[in-house]
C-alpha cells in the first residue's frame, strides 16, 4: 500500500452534520487515524438526513453521512456522564488533534475544553468549529447553512448582471456548500498547527468561525464595499450564463483573445465586429444590446457541442451539468474522481473522491463510513485496554 500523507496522526472528531465531519474526512482520507465520537443512542444527526436508498430513512444508509465519514473509526461515548468524560480524557491523552463543534462554552462546562485537555496533553491541537466563533456578540447564535450563507453576503454577490436577477428573494447555494467551506477552512488551519508542532512540540487552540470562513471566500467583494461605501453598480458580464437547446452554458470570454475566439465560434457575425464589442468594459456598457444577440446564437446549439468546439478555439466555456452528467463525464472518470466503496448496510456505491492527485500520497479508501459504535471494541479494548467485561459494563451503564 502507498504511504499516506498523514500517517500516524491521531484525530478525535466530536462533530455532527457537515463542517466538522468534513474536516475529519479530509484528514482521514489522507491517512490520519480518525476516531469519530458519537453520542448514543442516535449518533451524528447526519444519520437522519438523506439521501437514503429508496428514500427509506435508515441510520446506516444516509448518503450525507456515508460521504462525510469515509476512512474513520466510529465509537459511541456519552459525554453527559462522568464516566464518559473520563474515557474521553483518556482518548484525548493519546490524540494529536481534537475537532469539536459544540456551542461555545459547552466543552468548558464539562471540563473538556482546550485549557483542561492541554493540561493533560500539551501537544494536543483543538479545532473548534462554530457558526460565529468563540467570541463576539453572536457567539451563542444558532445558525444553519441557510442563515450563514445569506448572512455572509454570498447570496448578494453575483457574476450575472443585477437586472437579470429574478424578482423576489435571493437564493442559498445548493448542496450546503458553505458548511463544507467551514470544514475545509478548519482542515487548513489544523494541518498548519500540526506542521508548526513539528518545530515547537506544542499544541494550540484553533477558533473557526464558519461565518468568517465563508466571508473570506468573498474577500475581494467585501473589501470593495468596505472601502468604497457606494460603489457604482456592476453592469454584468457579456456572456456568462447562456441558454442552449438542451440546457445552459457559461462563457467567460473576458480577455480580448478570448472574445476573438468566441466571435470565431459564432461564425464571425457582423455585430461582433462593432465598436461596441471593442473591449470588456465597452461590451459591458452595451450589455442590453449584445446579450440577446449572443443568446439568439447559443440557443440554437447543444451545450456539449459549444463546449468542445469553443474550447478547441480557446473560449473559456463550460456546460451547466447535472450530477448524472458529471458521473458519466469521461474526463472525471478517466482521472478516477469516483471510487466504489463497499458498506455492510448501504452496499456498494460510487463516491466522489478528491480534487487532488498526489503523486506520493494518493487519496485512498481504507474503509467506508463506520456503523454506529462499530469500533467500540477495537478502540476501548484494543487501545485503551478495557476488558470485554468492562466494555459490557460501559454499555450497560450508558457510558457508550
Amino acid at each position: 500500500m502507498a504511504e499516506t500523507a498523514l500517517d500516524g496522526v491521531k484525530v478525535l472528531e466530536c462533530c455532527q452534520m457537515i463542517s466538522g465531519p468534513y474536516c475529519g474526512k479530509l484528514l482521514a482520507d489522507l491517512g490520519a487515524d480518525v476516531i469519530k465520537v458519537e453520542e448514543p443512542p442516535a449518533g451524528d444527526a447526519a444519520r437522519t438526513r438523506g439521501p437514503f436508498p429508496g428514500d427509506a430513512p435508515h441510520p446506516e444508509k444516509s448518503g450525507l453521512f456515508l460521504y462525510l465519514n469515509t476512512n474513520k473509526l466510529g465509537i459511541t461515548l456519552n459525554l453527559g456522564t462522568a464516566s464518559g468524560r473520563q474515557v474521553f480524557q483518556r482518548l484525548a491523552e493519546q490524540a494529536d488533534v481534537l475537532i469539536e463543534d459544540r456551542p461555545p462554552g459547552e466543552m468548558a462546562k464539562i471540563g473538556l475544553d482546550y485549557a483542561s485537555l492541554s493540561a493533560i496533553n500539551p501537544r494536543l491541537i483543538v479545532t473548534s468549529i462554530t457558526p460565529f466563533g468563540q467570541t463576539g456578540p453572536y457567539r451563542d447564535y444558532k445558525s444553519y447553512h441557510l442563515n450563514l450563507y445569506h448572512a455572509s453576503g454570498h447570496s448578494s454577490f453575483f457574476y450575472v448582471a443585477p437586472r437579470d436577477r429574478q424578482e423576489g428573494s435571493l437564493v442559498v447555494a445548493g448542496g450546503e456548500v458553505g458548511d463544507y467551506d467551514g470544514g475545509l477552512s478548519a482542515a487548513v488551519a489544523t494541518l498548519a498547527a500540526l506542521f508548526a508542532r513539528l518545530a515547537t512540540g506544542q499544541g494550540q487552540h484553533i477558533d473557526i468561525s464558519k461565518f468568517e470562513a465563508l466571508l473570506s471566500l468573498e474577500r475581494v467583494v467585501v473589501a470593495r464595499f468596505a472601502n468604497t461605501p457606494d460603489p457604482p453598480p456592476w453592469p454584468g458580464m457579456v456572456g456568462g450564463l447562456m441558454p442552449c437547446k438542451d440546457g445552459h452554458v457559461v462563457v467567460t470570454a473576458v480577455q480580448s483573445h478570448q472574445w476573438q475566439a468566441l466571435t470565431e465560434l459564432m461564425g464571425n457575425p457582423a455585430w461582433a465586429q462593432d465598436e461596441k464589442c471593442r473591449d470588456e468594459p465597452t461590451r459591458a456598457q452595451h450589455r442590453d444590446e449584445l446579450q440577446p444577440l449572443l443568446e439568439e446564437w447559443s440557443v440554437q446549439h447543444d451545450k456539449d457541442e459549444l463546449y468542445h468546439k469553443g474550447q478547441a478555439l480557446g473560449v473559456p466555456i463550460g456546460p451547466v451539468r447535472t450530477v448524472a452528467e458529471i458521473m458519466h463525464w469521461p474526463q472525471a472518470r478517466q482521472r478516477g474522481f469516483f471510487a466504489h466503496l463497499d458498506h455492510p448496510q448501504a452496499g456498494r456505491l460510487e463516491y466522489p473522491t478528491a480534487a487532488y492527485r498526489m503523486s506520493e500520497t494518493p487519496w485512498r479508501v481504507e474503509r467506508a463510513a463506520p456503523l454506529l459504535g462499530e469500533h467500540n471494541e477495537q478502540v476501548y479494548c484494543g487501545r485503551l485496554g478495557y476488558s470485554p467485561e468492562q466494555l459490557a459494563g460501559m454499555a450497560a451503564d450508558g457510558t457508550i
Binding site: G136, S143, F225, V249, P281, P316, M358
Partner: protein, 403 residues
C-alpha cells in the same frame, strides 16, 4: 511579530488570476514566504482589470483586487520567454520548498519548468498544478474560470429558484479551489517534513467544487436521482426560507430543524393559525411549507431584521439577517472580532482588508505586508537570496530578463 506556523517555508508562485493566488495567500497568512513570479510581458490580469472591480485602475500597482488576493507576498519580475529568466526561476526553485502554478497544462513543460525539471534541481520539491479540469485526461487542455467551474461541478445546477435558471455563483468558487490547493500543499509539506520526500499534486478546479457538494452525488449513486434547484427550501427542514422584513429590500432567514425549535418559533410569532394540524410535525410542515412561509412572512413583514433575529435567537431559533456588502462592513460581530483591519498600501493608501479566517492561539496567522508592487522584491530575491551583484542584476534588467 510572532511566528506563523509555516515560518521558514518558501513558495515559488507562478499562479495568477484568483484561485491560485488565493492558495498562496492563505499560506502567506500562515507565515510562508511567497515569491510571486510576474512579468510586464504577461501581467496577472487582476493587476489590469477584473470583473466587479469598481474603481478604475490607473496602473498595475494600483489594482485593489490584486492587493486583496496578494497581500503578504513578494514580487519577482521574470520574463520567462527568455532562457536566462527560466534559469533564474530554477535557481529560486532550488532554494524553495513549494512551487505553485495554474497555467494551462503543458505550459510549464514548454518553459522548462515542469515538475521533472524542478525535481532535477531540488529533489524534494513539492509542486502543485491547478487547472480547470486537471492535468490528465482527454480535456486537460481546456480552460476555465470560477463560473465554468461552478457550472461543470454540479453546483450551478442545484442553485437557484425551482422555476428559474441555474446560477453559476461568483468568484467565491475560485477561492474554494484555492483553499483546497492550500490543504493539499499543507498535507504534502507535513509528509515531506517527516519523510524527506516531495511530490507532484495535480488539482482539478472543477473537481474541487464537486467535492464540496459530495453528498448530492450520493443521491445519484443510490437512487439515480438528479437533485435540482429548490430556492431557499431544504429537503427536510421547514420553515426554511428568506422572509421579507420592514425596510427596503430587507430580508431575514429562518430555519427550523426540530420540534423544540418549532415550538419556540410558534411561541414568539404568537399566531394561532400556526397551531393548525397542517404544521403539527416536521413532515406535515414540510408538506405545507408554502402556507407556512406565507404566515411567517406576514409576521416578519412588519418587523425589522434586528428585532426578528434577536427575538428568535433568544429562544434558540436560527434566524439571521441577509447581509450585503454595505451591512457586512457595519456588522457588530465582525467589528468585535477585528475581521476587517486597516492596512497601509504604498500607492493606494489605507484600505480595510479582510483578516485571515482562523484564530490560532499559539502561532497566529496574520498579514505581514501589503500586496507587492511589480518587481518590488527583485533586489531581495536576486541579490540577497541568489547572491547576484548589482551589476549582474542591472544587466538582467537591461536585457529584459528581469522585466
Amino acid at each position: 511579530m510572532t511566528t506563523g506556523p509555516l515560518e521558514g517555508v518558501r513558495i515559488l508562485d507562478f499562479t495568477w488570476a484568483w484561485a491560485g493566488p488565493h492558495a498562496t495567500l492563505l499560506l502567506s497568512f500562515l507565515g510562508a514566504e511567497v515569491i510571486k513570479v510576474e512579468s510586464r510581458r504577461r501581467l496577472d490580469h487582476t493587476r489590469l482589470r477584473s470583473l466587479m472591480s469598481g474603481p478604475t485602475m490607473t496602473g498595475p500597482n494600483h489594482s485593489v483586487i490584486f492587493h486583496d488576493l496578494n497581500v503578504g507576498k513578494l514580487s519577482l519580475t521574470l520574463n520567462l520567454s527568455q532562457p536566462k529568466a527560466v534559469e533564474i526561476a530554477r535557481r529560486v526553485a532550488q532554494i524553495s520548498d513549494v512551487v505553485t502554478e495554474n497555467m494551462r497544462p503543458g505550459v510549464m513543460e514548454r518553459l522548462g519548468l515542469s515538475y521533472d525539471d524542478l525535481k532535477a534541481v531540488k529533489p524534494d520539491i513539492i509542486m502543485l498544478s491547478s487547472s480547470a479540469v486537471g492535468a490528465t485526461g482527454p480535456e486537460r487542455a481546456y480552460a476555465g474560470y470560477a463560473p465554468t467551474f461552478a457550472a461543470m461541478s454540479g453546483l450551478a445546477h442545484i442553485t437557484g429558484h425551482a422555476d428559474g435558471p441555474p446560477m453559476p455563483l461568483s468568484g467565491a468558487v475560485d477561492l474554494r479551489v484555492g483553499t483546497t490547493s492550500a490543504f493539499a500543499i499543507l498535507a504534502a509539506l507535513y509528509y515531506r517534513a517527516r519523510t524527506g520526500k516531495g511530490q507532484y499534486i495535480d488539482l482539478s478546479s472543477t473537481e474541487a467544487a464537486s467535492a464540496l457538494i459530495g453528498h448530492t452525488f450520493m443521491d445519484y449513486s443510490m437512487n439515480s436521482r438528479v437533485q435540482t434547484r429548490m430556492g431557499n427550501h431544504d429537503h427536510m427542514m421547514a420553515p426554511h426560507n428568506s422572509y421579507r422584513c420592514l425596510g427596503e429590500d430587507k430580508w431575514v432567514t429562518i430555519a427550523v430543524a426540530c420540534q423544540e425549535e418549532w415550538d419556540a418559533l410558534r411561541q414568539v410569532v404568537g399566531d394561532s393559525r400556526l397551531d393548525d394540524e397542517r404544521f403539527a410535525d416536521a413532515s406535515s410542515r414540510w408538506q405545507n411549507q408554502e402556507a407556512l412561509d406565507h404566515l411567517i412572512g406576514e409576521w416578519t413583514a412588519s418587523r425589522s431584521q434586528e428585532e426578528i433575529t434577536q427575538a428568535l435567537q433568544k429562544v434558540g431559533v436560527a434566524a439571521m439577517p441577509l447581509l450585503d456588502g454595505q451591512s457586512l462592513v457595519r456588522d457588530a460581530q465582525l467589528r468585535e472580532r477585528g475581521v476587517l483591519e486597516p492596512l497601509q498600501y504604498p500607492l493606494i493608501g489605507e484600505r480595510l482588508t479582510l483578516s485571515p479566517p482562523w484564530r490560532l492561539s499559539r502561532t497566529p496567522a496574520q498579514i505581514r505586508r501589503p500586496g507587492p508592487l511589480l518587481g518590488e522584491h527583485n533586489q531581495y530575491v536576486l541579490g540577497e537570496l541568489l547572491g547576484m551583484s548589482s551589476e549582474e542584476i542591472e544587466r538582467l534588467v537591461a536585457e529584459e530578463v528581469v522585466y
